[in-house]
Symmetry: C2
Subunit: 652 residues, 2 copies
Amino acid sequence: MGNADFQPPQQYGRVEVPPPKPFFKSLAVSVKETLFPDDPFRQFKDQPFSKKCVLGLQYFVPILEWAPRYTFEFFKADLVAGITIASLAVPQGISYARLASLPPIIGLYSSFVPPLIYALLGSSKDLAVGTIAVPSLLISAMMGKEVHPAENPKLYVQLVLTATFFAGVFQASLGLLRLGFIVDFLSHATIVGFMGGAATVVCLQQLKGILGLVHFTHETDVISVMRSIFTQVHQWRWESGVLGCCFLLYLFTTKYFSKKKPVFFWINAMAPLTSVILGSVLVYVTHAENHGVEVIGHLKKGLNPPSLSELAFGSPYLMLALKTGVITGVIALAEGVAVGRSFASFKNYQIDGNKEMIAFGMMNIAGSCTSCYLTSGPFSRSAVNFNAGCKTAVSNIVMAAAVMITLLFLTPLFHYTPLVVLSAIIIAAMIGLIDYEAAIHLSKIDKFDFAVCISAYIGVVFGSVEIGLVIAVAISLLRVILFIARPRTTLLGNIPNSMAYRSIDQYPAAINVPGILILRIEAPVYFANASYLRERITRWIDEEEDKLKSSTDVELQYVILDLSAVGTIDTSGVSMIEEVKKNMDRRCLQLVLANPGSEVMKKLDKSDLIEKIGKEWIFLTVAEAACACNYMLHSYKQKGKITENNSSDQMV
Amino acid sequence: MGNADFQPPQQYGRVEVPPPKPFFKSLAVSVKETLFPDDPFRQFKDQPFSKKCVLGLQYFVPILEWAPRYTFEFFKADLVAGITIASLAVPQGISYARLASLPPIIGLYSSFVPPLIYALLGSSKDLAVGTIAVPSLLISAMMGKEVHPAENPKLYVQLVLTATFFAGVFQASLGLLRLGFIVDFLSHATIVGFMGGAATVVCLQQLKGILGLVHFTHETDVISVMRSIFTQVHQWRWESGVLGCCFLLYLFTTKYFSKKKPVFFWINAMAPLTSVILGSVLVYVTHAENHGVEVIGHLKKGLNPPSLSELAFGSPYLMLALKTGVITGVIALAEGVAVGRSFASFKNYQIDGNKEMIAFGMMNIAGSCTSCYLTSGPFSRSAVNFNAGCKTAVSNIVMAAAVMITLLFLTPLFHYTPLVVLSAIIIAAMIGLIDYEAAIHLSKIDKFDFAVCISAYIGVVFGSVEIGLVIAVAISLLRVILFIARPRTTLLGNIPNSMAYRSIDQYPAAINVPGILILRIEAPVYFANASYLRERITRWIDEEEDKLKSSTDVELQYVILDLSAVGTIDTSGVSMIEEVKKNMDRRCLQLVLANPGSEVMKKLDKSDLIEKIGKEWIFLTVAEAACACNYMLHSYKQKGKITENNSSDQMV
């Protein structure tokens, strides 16, 4: 113990009840903290009305904010970046559309309108808009079960567009209602596992294209796919296989090379387009399309046709479209927001998640009316954009212009593009999503997070994308529930030669004081953990009494609860403390509180518990509480045995 | 600041990384904390094998533990209590069965078998077993929608028995899997509101009986009920009304009297039985059954018939039975466990929630095979049991014996019991459940809890019991989510004349140190709040810089994060700290950590973040961190402006 062991108790600091706040003021504060933690209104403060209007418009349409400051220097950079990502957008668009069992042209359409909308509304400078692989696969998995894309292509496309519309509405309303934090409930570990699993599944699906198989399983799990492949060994087409392996090799080589020398990132970025060109020329020259190499075939020329009338609100499959839209919308959002945030953090600017959600939502609503399916900010394309040195969202406009030119004039060039090249492009992009390094990192730092990650992965790979998603969300929720329902309580001891009392687990040298039990509750207390804490505290006391009984003749007399970490408390928590107090009174123990925070003091005060515990038993620090208890213990010893009930009278 | 302002930094206490624990040991500890927080195996430790077997058997069948110590004194007390609660059980059983739209005799059956099972397996000494009002109403509301109890009585009874079976299985498995904490997620505020609303609804339903109406709405909301009553004013039967009002007056008077003089609690306890006797005699004498006063009619003599073959597992309504069983099972469990716990806490003994759940589950499984419907530990009956001085669960056996005698010999006596008396008994019991005092208490202590309570109440009263339940659970979950997603962060300042740094909200006198921002994170950090905290910390820094810019010429140089309250952290939390560190580096600010706990230190260490932050910037207390920063600030001033990057070198 420190040198203040026998200091008379009167000199201790007083724990204050926070000054009362008017109800509506504190309500306003908590609403603001809940819905506007980033305080978007700060810039509006103390501004004249006209300025406020301009700022408000700029808030919702960020291009108005940065366009006036746009320079030619910026444009040069954005032009290069835009062309680079366009060269990626065209083959990826076609590939992912095939993944979603949609006509390839819809993939191209989806790289034209949505980037333009995002350039107007989005606040990220680095995000490149486009279709994304995992939601594409999910669309085909969820929709394809009910409506077969080959048997009923028109209805299938209509439903996908409707799902996109719902996804957009859902995303925009999450943003408008400022409920963006719902996305945060998908933990990083969950996303790593889920994305890795989905990427594995997508790669497995591409074996169909690589091996040139005609019949293939509709299931996505690894066992069905493997069975489907190995029961058809005699159907494998070597032409297709050789072509696929060559292009895969080419893509991986460029990737490896670009990783080694980051200046040549464009080699990697251009690789998909060069593969497509090479593959098409090869097929055109050798007429391989007649020898088992499937090609894209005819692509319609022209820009996106309007599709508002295609939205199938009267369809009996409306609920399916709604479900698909909401689920794929959330996943697309999670990826897009995460990508936006990470690049913003590289370049040190802020992104408002809720505003991004509105931008994504509007982009998908507009997309669904112009023959586009679900888009977001894919990681691969955004990374290329960033590496290519983009400065603003103008790179998206440049990309859209390039795609427009493709749509108007160049679609016939894709007639001979072999599907196997598209499969190779997808595999090359997806392999990067299997983030085994992140999984290893998780396993090093937090075993539970690793278990979450692996379960999500296994669920996707051995079950289905939906099962994996359900497992991932369920485990994430379970984790949250466990975090809440089972807060840690630790035993504190005095660190030698200091006044600090710290957990004995962490500081094995810390000494506990005989006759005094010092416990620390390490989390806010509320209904979900109040009864656990009550039981756990009782167990601590039981164990301490057992220990003292067997070793020394000192009796346990004081229990100090360190409430420093109890940031908030609700009525159930207050009742818990009241019950602990009663329980201790029955056992002739004195309950002592150390460092209760403002919320705790406010609620203890309102429920008259401060009186019941006794003001003199509430201390500002654990050290003071321990000092006072020690002082009482020693004065007992000197004065002989006095009954417990007098102790509080003496104190006053 | 304290007097140690310019102490050289080398003398500060060192924050330790906790000693590494083997993975399986720490897993075992966390599994134990999660599933066995009450440590039921403690008594098994260091015992010979035979003793362990006996203890194990006693653990699962508690009667084996206390029966050997049972004395004649105990029996006398239990006999009195048992007879008292039997006098309540018979009329309540009949009334609640009617509430569940079941034949009255099933209510009597339910007070015979389940109490016997509970006496064997239950660990509460005060709980009296019986049917409960709210789940009874819920059964009729949920089942009655699909299968009309009057049109298809046999199927209805079968489904109710099946639902009881599922409720029992669900309860027992919650207990066996030690998932009892799920019940804790129904907060006290939710339960107060929901129970109050349900009691109101039950009372309103009784107006049918009191007014002698034949046709009545099937809805339970107040508007439908009122419309149904006031559109049938000419159908009101004054005989029934007068009788009902008289009995209500009688019941309330006895209740009031017993409250005033607790020794006469038995007057209140006997009142329902005396009402039934009085009412039956009155009807028999006046032949009021021919003048608009409905009576129970014929009740079959004899004990519970077996009903295993009645369980309708093949029925098309199986899912309905399952749903009803699970929902009513949870509510029954919540009431039973809460009742058991509160009386245990009065008499200072422990109750194991999970073991209680197994007992409830077994009791309902056995009940469903012997023509009983859902039972639990109703508050009213248990309170009477407690007041009557029961000592052990033998009072339940006595009650069962009394009910058995009733079933065997006395059922004809209930032929003339008027239904209006049963309605009066239900109303008198239910009024007590409308706990307006608890609601007032909630509104005083925690406005949000009050809002939860009122929403649940309004949902039940103006919507339906199910809507109310959904609202209650949804708001409880929302509350949990908000608690997690939006942890508090507070600004700390130095309390004058002490070394303590506390929240400026709570201690308005606390002074903050210019150039140093001290923030405290008041909750564990994990994926659900990591991105909020990152944004919030950035906002604190922005605001502090704005404030400093406008007032003084001091620049913000140090940000101290007080991590005392961060009990646990996951990988997302660690990434958050890493990002905050990067962000501060970019702004030329120094991140300083104060008092990270064992979990935090362990994970910072494993992710090499300690190196990145610098060991010398992690302090044992906020006071030491502030001291060191202040020291650096002042040595700057003396030495003139030095670039920020050197600061950490100087420190070492």
